[in-house]
Amino acid sequence: MIHTRNLQKLFRRGNNEKYVLRNINIDIEEGEYVVFAGPSGSGKTTLLGLLGLVDIPSSGEIWFREQEITGLSERKRNRIRRDHIAFLFEEIHLIDELNVYENIELPLLYMPDSRKERRRKVEELLDRFRLTHLRKQYPGKFGDFVQQKVALARALSCSPDILYGDEPTGRLSSGEKEEFMELLRQLNEEGHTIALATHSREAARHGQRIIQLFDGHVVTTSSDRG
């Protein structure tokens, strides 16, 4: 589904240059649950940004479903991201001025769906994540776990082909972490492709395959869950 060839990312600040990612060759197949593990500064977040088309590589190729997407225009990358990709963040990033229902509906506003269709999809997600009773509440009132569930529902509202998560459990307590990872596991079992970046060992063990990064290089790849 997603393939990279010799992917590199170079950051420049003044005269200083630093490779954050070097020669990354990875393949993520449909329905897989991949975890990018590694300490802070290993390049996990940058890699997710490149795979999720929010950032552009310095060199190398990224293929999405048999199409090379490396050199695409901002507009085309935007469309692919809108139609196929969703994100979760450690900082959650819900919009405080919108209630739970509206936050979940947000991505659908940029899709051609009818109002009725949007409502059906949002209601389904509210029901699935047991958020129906909170639909009119503003997210600022909730704890991080509920907020992250809302963010997950929002991510799924546009039926993405792949869900990227950048430390989505970083702000959760250990019990909440388990519960949230369980939600992701269930989604994966339902056929969603998931790629998660984390430095947490507990989180990492939920993945089918762990890609270990260190200083911008892929160090090892293991395929056992747990």
Binding site: G49, F89, H93, E97, P107, Y110
Partner: protein
């Protein structure tokens, strides 16, 4: 559907961030309300005389050129002009007009004191399209005993009765029959009239006054005594007509000139056509008949409206982008989920427009509340029956949408640049420094406008105080004027005696001119053959005049004992040469019998009766005979006792039972009234200054909030490393103060030059000094300091490790 989402978010933002919204809305509402007022006023100024049918074909004929080496630019024309112009096919109709001045008017039911009275030819109503409520123009002025009156005058004098056929008595005993009632003249007409009397009445009065020389006077090209208005045929070329007319009358004017001045050419006049709708705003003629204004004020106001809109929009930008971090996150999330740049730009612009619309509501409330104040300040009844009955809603909407769009542009530009990438990499870096410059420049502009307007207000105050305090050459604090005494008829002499006998008065004098209004200017010669001519202002006075105003002669005596006695002012004496006392001067006339002779009794200092906006001219004070028409009584009262004198005069006036309204004013007050328009604009400048300072303060609040939001981490780190708070604040806000200081410094030359231009209207000028600048500058710097101090203290007190 996205637009609904934008509106929803905007409304939520408004309610969830109430404090912030209140500040934003306050700035926007004040800005919108002010702009509405100023623009309404400016449009009102431009609307003058455009309500007449075919106003583009209407002109006033004005006179310019030289008369005995004096430049003439008069709104007046000679009597003969109108009838001669009518002979041209391009001229559809022409009318002569003379302003009657103030007189008491009585009907059988009521009396009033009226000032909007004209003598006019019957063609008046052909030139000035008029809507008649009763009677009609076809039978206008069948004889010399009719009068046409306005609806308001009819209501004042007849109440609900039908005035047609009723009598009206003007002044003492001139009686006229009402033949028609016309709709009131709108406020935006330079020519205001409630009564139109037949011109033939005026001609008869002149005939009685001038006797044999009347026929020469009405045929003279040099006797500028009436106003001439013409209506041209559609499409007529006025410039061609001006040229043709000048050619036609050239020989006649030369002949008259030679006859008066013993074969010498001394006068060269020409007549030009002034478009009717330019008179109010652009005319700079002497002897205006009606309202005119200084066009500089209108353009200054247009500039002020533009600046207010700009400053208001800047304020919104500043306050919106002060919450940069929140808004950047929202923009980032939207980008991540597929929003394109124009989606975000559209969102921020629609939010600004929505805020403006909400602010419009509060703005309209402000307009309603402030309407009486502004009516008073602008001296315009905004939204009355005759001009406009309500706000111009297309204008209001245009202003609001303009503010909305202008306000939304910068936030739209800033936030639409955000990419999904910034969500990951952190938008703190994105939103901080590039914005500081733009925001700083916005605040600098606001401070500039605030200091400019407040400096202008302080400067105007200083200049007006200066001219008010400047010695006018007579005892201004001990002289009052009892106006309208001339209309008392035979009772005026009784009144004179009674005032003379009051303990509180020191002297009384009969006045035969109106202080502050143009006086007659006549040619005099110091030889019988008129070989050397002088133009002097002529003040007809009585023997107690100089004692009443507290002026003593520098040479000779100030006492005028009888007809033929004359006293000259210092300037006239200088023109006449050395040793003027005892010398004779003569008036200039075509016939030797019409010439008058005067003996100079003394030289008095220069006296400024008309304030410091008119240059002092050489003047003569002649002993007035019984043929002169009394205007008012001048009273010298004991120092500091004007209120008591006023009360006693009021009592005396009441006892005379004439029905004429009482009006007495101290000269100090009258002097102030000469600058009433300037005082009004000064009050407006103060009002604007306060509001612009409020807006600038909001703008600075926005910048301080932004700096605190983006640099709180730095502030915290400085604090925990032991830097004293004062030091931290100074380092953090040095940039901010730089912008404020730049705004202050930029305002100095601009307001200095504006004040200098404005004060050109005065003969004496107060030198613009540091005080005008220092006060507003200190105020802005102080406000900036307080805002920084309060903001920083709040942040430093609540700072905790959890935030990082």
């Amino acid at each position: 559907m996205r637009i609904l989402n934008y509106i929803k978010i905007s409304l939520r933002t408004l309610f969830l961030h109430r404090g912030f919204s209140l500040l934003t809305l306050l700035g926007l509402s004040v800005g919108i309300a002010m702009s509405i007022f100023v623009l309404e006023y400016v449009f009102f100024q431009f609307s003058f005389d455009k309500h007449f049918d075919r106003y583009q074909d209407m002109y006033r004929v004005v006179t310019s050129g030289n008369m005995e080496n004096e430049q003439v630019d008069a709104a007046l024309s000679p009597m003969v002009l109108a009838s001669r112009l009518k002979q041209y096919p391009e001229v559809e109709s022409a009318t002569r007009i003379v302003d009657v001045g103030e007189v008491p008017v009585r009907s059988d039911f009521a009396s009033s004191y009226e000032s909007e009275i004209l003598y006019a030819d019957s063609a008046f109503f052909d030139v000035f399209s008029t809507s008649f409520l009763l009677g009609g123009p076809q039978k206008t002025f069948p004889d010399s005993s009719c009068v046409i009156i306005s609806r308001a005058a009819a209501s004042r004098l007849f109440g609900d009765r039908n005035p047609i056929g009723q009598e009206l008595r003007f002044d003492q005993d001139d009686t006229y029959i009402v033949k028609g009632v016309f709709e009131d003249v709108p406020q935006n007409s330079h020519l205001q009239y409630d009564f139109v009397l037949p011109f033939s009445v005026m001609e008869q009065q002149l005939r009685n006054y001038y006797g044999d020389s009347f026929s020469r006077m009405i045929e003279s090209w040099f006797s500028l005594v009436c106003y001439v208005y013409v209506k041209m045929e559609p499409g007529a070329d006025v410039h061609k007509l001006e040229g043709a007319f000048a050619d036609e009358i050239k020989a006649e004017m030369e002949e008259e000139d030679m006859a008066i001045f013993s074969g010498e050419r001394k006068t060269n006049l020409h007549f030009s056509f002034q478009p009717l709708h330019h008179i109010y705003l652009f005319s700079s003629q002497d002897f205006e008949i009606g309202k005119t204004t200084n066009k500089a004020y209108v353009f200054i106001f247009l500039g002020v409206a533009f600046f207010i809109l700009l400053v208001t929009a800047f304020n919104f930008m500043n306050l919106t982008t002060a919450r940069a971090l929140d808004r950047a996150r929202e923009a980032g999330v939207r980008r991540l989920f597929g929003a394109r740049r124009f989606h975000l730009a559209g969102q921020f612009i629609s939010e600004a427009v929505l805020f403006s619309l909400v602010a419009l509501f509060f703005g309209l409330v402000l307009v309603e509340l402030l309407l009486p104040v502004f009516n008073k300040l602008f001296l315009v009844e905004f939204f009355d029956r005759s001009y406009r009955q309500s706000l111009d809603f297309p204008l209001v909407l245009t202003v609001t949408l303009a503010v909305g769009l202008l306000s939304g542009i910068y936030p739209a530009f800033v936030f639409s640049r955000i990419k999904a990438f910034h969500l990951q990499s952190g938008y703190r870096r994105f939103s901080a420094y590039p914005g500081l410059w733009v925001r700083g420049l916005l605040v600098m502009t606001q401070v500039f406008v605030a200091v400019f307007v407040s400096t202008a207000a302080v400067g105007m105050y200083r200049q007006l105080s200066y001219v008010n305090k400047k010695d006018p050459g007579f005892d201004i604090d001990q002289v009052g004027i009892l106006e309208r005494a001339g209309h008392l008829g035979s009772k005026s002499e009784t009144m004179y005696r009674e005032i003379e006998n009051l303990d509180i008065t020191e002297d009384v004098s009969r006045l035969y001119f109106k202080p502050g209004e143009p006086v007659t200017i006549m040619s005099f010669s110091n030889t019988e053959d008129s070989s050397q001519l002088f133009l002097f202002e002529v003040y007809p006075v009585d023997s107690s005049f100089f004692h009443t105003i507290g002026v003593k002669a520098e040479k000779g005596t100030e006492h005028l004992f009888g007809s033929g006695d004359i006293v000259v002012n210092r300037q006239a004496a200088q023109m006449l040469g050395n040793d003027v006392i005892g010398r004779k001067i003569y008036t200039v006339a075509r016939e030797a019998g019409d010439r008058m002779e005067f003996g100079i009794q003394g030289v008095v200092p220069d006296i400024h009766f008309s304030g410091w906006k008119h240059s002092l001219r050489p003047a003569v004070y002649i002993y007035a005979g019984p043929e002169e028409k009394l205007t008012s009584l001048l009273i010298r009262f004991k120092k500091g006792q004007w209120p008591q004198t006023h009360q006693l005069l009021n009592d005396l006036w009441g006892q005379s039972k004439t029905g004429i309204p009482f009006k007495a004013v101290s000269f100090r007050q009258k002097n102030r009234d000469f600058y009433s328009e300037d005082y009004r604009y000064m009050s407006l400048a103060w009002a604007f200054a306060v509001l612009v300072i409020i807006i600038a303060t909001l703008g600075m609040t926005g910048l301080v909030s932004f700096l605190l939001a983006t640099r709180q981490q730095e502030l915290y780190l400085r604090k925990i490393t032991g830097f004293p708070d004062f030091h931290n604040i100074r380092i953090l806000f040095s940039g901010f103060f730089l912008f404020v200081l730049l705004g202050v410094l930029m305002a100095f030359p601009v307001s200095g030059s504006m004040l200098s231009d404005w004060s050109q209207a005065f003969v004496v000028r107060y030198e613009v000094d540091y005080f005008c600048f220092v006060l507003p500058a200190l105020l802005m710097l102080l406000l900036a300091g307080v805002l920084v101090f309060l903001g920083a203290r709040r942040l430093l007190n609540k700072i905790s490790l959890h935030q990082f």
